[in-house]
Subunit: 401 residues, 2 copies
């Protein structure tokens, strides 16, 4: 059993401190976040599959791969330190080392992450100067400031926590994340930092995170883009004394809670997607294979024509069926049925049962579901997407200026 904590964040977790400040990478807003655990954490991470990987991605990924234990994550926003070559790599290592030195830990115990404009030199001196300011501010109430410091074009800060009751006691999962642009359903497609005071052995923590990421962050789309900088990390410091052991009922309970946090983050990222006005859950059912269910869910979630129609509240189910036909999945067009929430729109053999007024009412809500029954098998998949608005274009036409 788990429940969400109000105003929860990474610092809802025992033994975790955080802070967020302005250090000068951006023009005015907070741009540097630091999350520190009192004790060493086992860690899991998922990283962008884009072949163009930002410098901090390469460095943090290596730490996770080597089964390293970590104490901190340092994140800057405003500059992605991507496509910055050898100089960018050295800047990333420098920001990691300076942070480690000032915290009195090893560089390999500090994960680093960056988000913002690609291809501009990281103003690493500003970040280093910022360290002297941020470290004294670390506190058990700093999670929200940290959440504030990692966002870019996000309109809202994003942080969650749940308390999980297990057989041996209570443990907490806390999180902060950011999203907005370059969000595509293929791996950790934004930044998300999760902390927990559960004790989770290095041998199982990655599996636990991966299974949750696959059903949350990997099932969302704002614009079909996979960034150079995406990462999701889970740090477990064991401060609650509650251990999660493989194959137990507690493991399943804990996994459900972690999944809930990941899905909540994923959905919040979509609903605050660039220019988004609506959060749309896409339920694909009765596909021949799991892969087919995912292909159709992804195609619908990525389709500009579907997303613009939903923006206008237009029940253009033809575009939904067309996207399914285009997805590469094995579909039989005549067998497809479509509904919005509980309102049937299309039945098999292209029997149209659309009530335009009722459909418009549903599609005008801030949140609804598009259900596509392929009717050729038993596999299903759930995705989340947002509408595509004029605002998206405005934001992206002059992002750098």
């Amino acid at each position: 059993v788990f429940q969400f904590v109000s105003n929860g964040s990474v610092t809802s977790v025992k033994g975790i401190k955080a802070a967020g400040i302005f250090c000068g990478v951006k023009k005015r807003k907070k741009d540097l976040a630091l999350i520190v655990s009192d004790s060493l954490c086992s860690v899991a991470g998922t990283f962008t599959l884009n072949k163009v990987k930002a410098a901090p991605i390469v460095i943090s990924k290596e730490i996770v791969k080597q089964n390293g234990k970590v104490k901190a994550v340092l994140v800057n926003s405003g500059n992605a330190n991507a496509c910055t070559g050898e100089e960018g790599r050295l800047d990333a290592l420098k920001m990691q080392k300076e942070c480690a030195d000032k915290l009195g830990v090893k560089p390999s115990e500090v994960l680093i992450s960056s988000t913002g404009v690609i291809g501009q030199k990281l103003p690493v001196e500003k970040i280093i100067a910022g360290l002297d300011k941020i470290i004294p501010l670390l506190s058990e109430k700093g999670g929200i400031d940290a959440a504030n410091a990692i966002i870019t074009t996000d309109k809202k800060i994003k942080s969650f926590a749940v308390k999980v009751q297990l057989s041996k006691g209570e443990t907490t999962i806390g999180s902060i994340c950011k999203g907005s642009g370059m969000i595509m359903p293929n791996m950790a497609t934004m930044l998300a930092f999760i902390t927990t005071d559960a004790k989770i052995d290095q041998s199982i923590i990655q599996k636990l995170l991966t299974s949750c990421v696959n059903e949350s962050f990997n099932k969302i789309s704002v614009d079909g883009e996979t960034s150079t900088n995406d990462m999701v990390t889970l740090m477990a410091n064991g401060a609650s004394g509650v251990e999660i052991l493989k194959g137990t009922k507690d493991y399943k309970e804990y996994e459900s809670a972690l999944m809930a946090v990941c899905k909540e983050m994923a959905k919040t990222i979509v609903s605050d997607g660039e220019g988004a006005t609506k959060l749309i859950q896409v339920n694909v059912t009765n596909a021949k294979t799991q892969a087919d269910a995912n292909l159709v869910g992804r195609a619908i979630s990525n389709s500009p024509l579907v997303k613009t129609a939903l923006n206008g509240g237009d029940a253009n189910w033809g575009r939904i069926v067309s996207a399914a036909g285009n997805s590469g999945a094995d579909v039989i067009p005549e067998k497809i049925s479509v509904s919005f929430n509980d309102l049937a729109v299309l039945k098999p053999n292209f029997e149209i049962v659309l009530d335009e007024k009722k459909a418009f009412k549903i599609l005008s809500q801030p949140e609804f579901s598009v259900n596509v029954d392929l009717n050729v098998g038993k596999e299903s998949s759930t995705w989340w997407t947002c509408d595509f608005s004029e605002e998206y274009i405005k934001i992206n036409a002059d992002y750098r200026t």
Copy 2:
């Protein structure tokens, strides 16, 4: 040697008549086009790869597949006759048969095509009534009217013709096409009807068309969508007496001319893409394989983030490199260089040589090229795309209303 004819169209070709009228499928604008050849034509066609295929696609595709000879193409706009089930199939057959009867030819000698809204019953009686009006209007000057009658959200009509000088005389290639939405680089992704008075045997006409479509219509993207109704046909009536024989110099000359017409149509479709303000040629060079060159060209041409940046004249080369990294192609980020027209922007090892002012000037032009040198092989690919503007959203948010 070939040259473009001013105000050319399908009726620039000997023995071809056409007309375009309003018959009531749309509210006001022309919506029915008919192209008729005096004599039987050999025919080639390429059709949408979307698994959801409109009724007329299924019927016309079968004619081409059976190596049929044809005399006419009947096209309506305003209604796609897609996702209309068995009723839609019967409507399509009816429109084909009525047209054939009234022209005094066999139904299998009439290709049919539809474009417009998906999932609404075709008002076939209006089309049949329109036949009595359009047939008397068929003329050697009707090509532009026909071009007018096939467009939907296109802002401009699209028609071209070239005269080709071959060893045995002159032959002409004429064309009309429409595009605008649901344009994606995978097969004939809009409607294009090409006529020619060359004599081309059925055994080679398909190969000729396919090779030209692959380098033109299959290399464009407006929004990454493949429609349910796309088709390109080439009808050759032999009226010029000039025969195109396999393996000859004339074949190559003729193929170049046909390629030029196809590319011109493809580029016009992109530059008049929904909301497009700019025509962008994407040149990908030095890829490891042809497939890789295409993957990168397609990824850049489809990327909303690249297309919105270009809309704003923003030299955001990072998004271009990121799209390449995301394409699935085998790329080495450090080896990539990028230029706009002749202006180098990024050199290998992420050496940035961007002159923002000069770049902005180029990206503010209505037409320019984005050149991406992958520097890992010898294969190249050329694509055409447009920018992504607020207008695109406006058009598509309420297309049906």
